[in-house]
Symmetry: C2
Subunit: 516 residues, 2 copies
């Protein structure tokens, strides 16, 4: 705390008097009787909704992981040689390679002088030209339209139409975003309203991806939990949705239903039937549907297939396709691309009221535009090299290699974890994570309570300190009371993943022994 | 409105019953007596704070400009050959060239295979390597730390320290952002609290950059206007600040004071004395200072110089430097770079309470990280080629050319506009805009009123239709009642700017004649 010097006493006194007169926070008296100035902005008078925000994926355990990395680099001795961050779906950081074609086009767009470089393939050049022609002054440094570059939105619409077997898609319903998170928060923002028992409620799965709970906390909306059925491979059961909405109507105004498919953190892939049932439920209960489909290419398990909410909605006929309001989200960060750092994404809105849509367009204009390199990348994702183009074969090779490796690692993770007594892991059907259930001995639960920690936070923190493996405790995503989990990405290279899984296994056995 | 078919009447009826029972919006009856489903999300039940948001820089006039461009491209006849968008500080779109070195490094970072290309200068390569080494997996596709890449924050801190004549800067106080807008909104978010007469108030200049009013509307904070003194070259007068805060204390809790220097839309550059007075005022009135300094390199007028709030604060001694809370903002979008599309930026926070800072760090983690290409670009801006490095001379040449051209265009704009009777324009001392005052004849004011338009909106819309020039009416930024202005960027190339100014002149004369 800064201290006023003696000769500034008069000023300080004046300030004190001023503050007191106005009923403002008083300056604090320090040990030596001097006055130190109280802060204008304090934890007590800051925005209370911000304080309620929690985001476990980058919470205390990750902060400790960063500290440990620094300690290691400073030569401090640890029982491990490196910290492995399996807490976040950060593919490139785990060694996944970017798609060559995408990066070539981005380099060409960044520095168009390269367009005359004969080492770049022609299809990369023509793609870069097309993107740059849609940018003011032929530069990615220009602002784009707030909704996103027109030609990119057209390409997104065509991609969706292809993906959904010809169901029409209007580019005017596409909004490019700064990663999917941005789109999700923007949509939630539109839905928030009311006070007391009329306050807007939003249904989210438990376990959930904590962006949802964080955004709802910040926006002051009510979080309505519906529980996925762990015993049935994290399935989404309609009676549970019904229970949740019925209970919620007593204390809030349920307005939206959020679904993550393929699931994060739970890795399940929903069946077509399930999606149809969810749409029927949303129509019956008058809920705005939000479908987080950022893992749409990450489907590994036999018999599983990605079905978009949009496609199923349209297959259900006009009673649904012309009425149910839906926003769906995609991103450049996941699937085979893993380009998180570019913050590219889009959302498609269906059946949105025209006046609300105008408000949405106005709202996104305040932030000017999503990052243009991310928009360019989104364009490449939805419009990759085509058969016959020079980059096609290599693109397919790279994409297949990444997706096959992920499928293999999904299986490996499930298999190894299920060999451990006290760990049980549902099949990783899709996405990039396993979310195994762990048994934590009563003695450890007690020790955690003494430390004021959730039992699985205590478990994960201990694992980090002993093995250098950074996971996220299940409590950060939500789970049924009395159950414990962790989320672990399947992203490390296979040999490293094998070692990691063995270390998890050994740690779990040691931990169980220690606290039994 | 979609209509249920006859055979779906039962379902529709059920839905109607359900809705009625729950007191939800009823389905609407259409002309033929069928029921059409009411939307879940409507203009009446959406977030009311979003509805209050306005953002003139991309408002109706720009939407009309886009329409006109489309009509022109479809061969429709207009009294002009092209639409000139002088509404927004979008430098590259107006033909300003990117800095070669910046784009070379970005290309190298996007596609590191180019590191072995001998046509790239060595300093660009080493800079790209340094950035990539700070990225997980040597890839810009990895998430960075939420606060931004460590090495970039270090470079920002060193830049600030150099800029401010050695005043120390801690990288831990630097947060990289998605353009400056993101940082400004995040800071405002922390400050919001209270209800009724305790509701947080934020002082902003009038005229202002409408991001501020938009963010305050969305956050439900009170906007406290203080008026810049147009007669004294848009100076900021302390008695006016005092008037504004005194009045505001009757109905809200003034917590922060926002300053834009160099000014947007008004182009003034504040004197060191003025900044010192503002700091004293903020200390006395216990206001958190927010200094929007994104135009710090855009200073043209003789005798004007940019003084950062940070530097002045520290020169005022510990009574101020250790107590006054300050956030300052910078961006890659303006100055000589004009790289708007990359959405790069940073904020520095001074004297922020440690607990609040922890909340800020948590809050930014929910959005994972600012776009990494924008972070890389910010790094290059704060750490450009140094004397002796291969790219130095060319960098200086390009930067100087851009800044000299802007200085010339600032002067030209002021001079030409001041030759027009009924237009009076303060010197464009800095930033990228002129904000001239215009006389609008009473008859035009009346016609505007009949159309439900602000008089200067009516004027600008007419100018757009007749000349293709897109400006923003002063009413979008705020102005003293009964005065009218427009904001025009000085960015078009000189020959084009000359034509544009002549067209504005002719339009104004025609308009005045027509309505006199």
């Amino acid at each position: 705390m800064p201290i006023f010097s003696q000769n500034q006493a008069t000023t300080a006194e004046n300030l004190y008097m001023n503050a007191t007169r106005r009923g403002l926070p008083k300056e604090k008296m320090t040990d030596n009787g001097m006055m130190s100035r109280a802060k204008v902005l304090t934890i007590d008078n800051m925005n209370p909704t911000v304080k309620k925000v929690e985001y476990a994926v980058r919470g205390p355990i990750v902060q400790r992981a960063v500290e440990l990395e620094r300690e290691l680099s400073e030569g401090m001795k640890k029982p491990f040689a490196e910290v492995i961050k399996a807490n976040i779906g950060d593919a490139h950081a785990m060694g996944q390679q970017p798609i060559t074609f995408f990066r070539q086009v981005l380099a060409l767009c960044s520095y168009p002088e390269l367009l005359s470089d004969s080492t770049f393939p022609e299809d990369a050049k023509s793609r870069a030209c097309r993107i740059l022609q849609s940018c003011g002054g032929f530069s990615m440094g220009s602002y784009s339209a707030s909704q996103g570059i027109d030609s990119v939105r057209q390409d997104v619409a065509q991609y969706i139409q292809r993906r959904d077997g010809g169901v029409p898609c209007d580019p005017d319903n596409i909004y490019l975003t700064t990663g999917a998170s941005d789109g999700i928060v923007t949509m939630l923002k539109l839905l928030v309203c009311g006070e007391g028992t009329s306050r807007a409620g939003v249904m989210i799965s438990i376990p959930q991806y904590p962006l949802y709970s964080a955004a709802l906390a910040e926006l002051g909306a009510v979080q309505i939990n519906y529980y996925l059925n762990e015993e049935a491979c994290w399935s989404l059961d309609i009676p549970e949705l019904q229970r949740a909405v019925n209970e919620a109507r007593r204390y809030c105004n349920p307005r939206a239903l959020c679904i993550i498919n393929p699931g994060n953190p739970t890795g399940q892939v929903q069946s077509r039937q399930c999606i149809e049932d969810v749409i029927r439920f949303a129509a019956k209960e008058r809920l705005f549907l939000m479908a987080d489909e950022v893992y749409q290419d990450n489907v590994y398990a036999d018999g599983c297939q990605f079905h978009s909410f949009k496609k199923v909605l349209f297959e259900m006929g006009p009673e649904y396709s012309e009425t149910v309001e839906l926003a769906s989200f995609h991103s450049t960060s996941k699937c085979y691309m893993g380009e998180c750092g570019f913050r590219g994404g889009y959302m498609e809105i269906i059946n949105m009221d025209d006046d609300v849509k105008a408000q949405l367009t106005k709202l996104v204009s305040v932030r000017l535009c999503p990052p243009v390199p991310g928009q360019a990348l989104m364009d490449l994702v939805v419009n990759p090299p085509q058969p016959g183009e020079p980059s096609y074969n290599n693109f397919i090779k790279e994409r297949t290699a990444t997706l096959s490796a992920l499928a293999e690692k999904a299986k490996l993770t499930e298999q190894v974890l299920n060999t451990v007594e006290g760990i049980s892991c549902n099949p990783v059907q899709g996405a990039m994570y396993s979310f195994p259930r762990i048994t934590i001995p009563e003695k450890a639960v007690q020790e955690a309570a003494e430390k004021g920690q959730a039992p699985d936070m205590f478990y994960c923190m201990k694992m980090l300190e002993e093995t250098g493996i950074c996971l996220v405790p299940g409590s950060g995503f939500g789970q049924k009371d009395g159950t414990y989990h962790f989320r672990m990405t399947i992203l490390p290279p296979k040999d490293k993943l094998q070692i990691l899984l063995n270390n998890v296994k050994e740690f779990h056995q040691r931990f169980t022994l220690q606290y039994s």
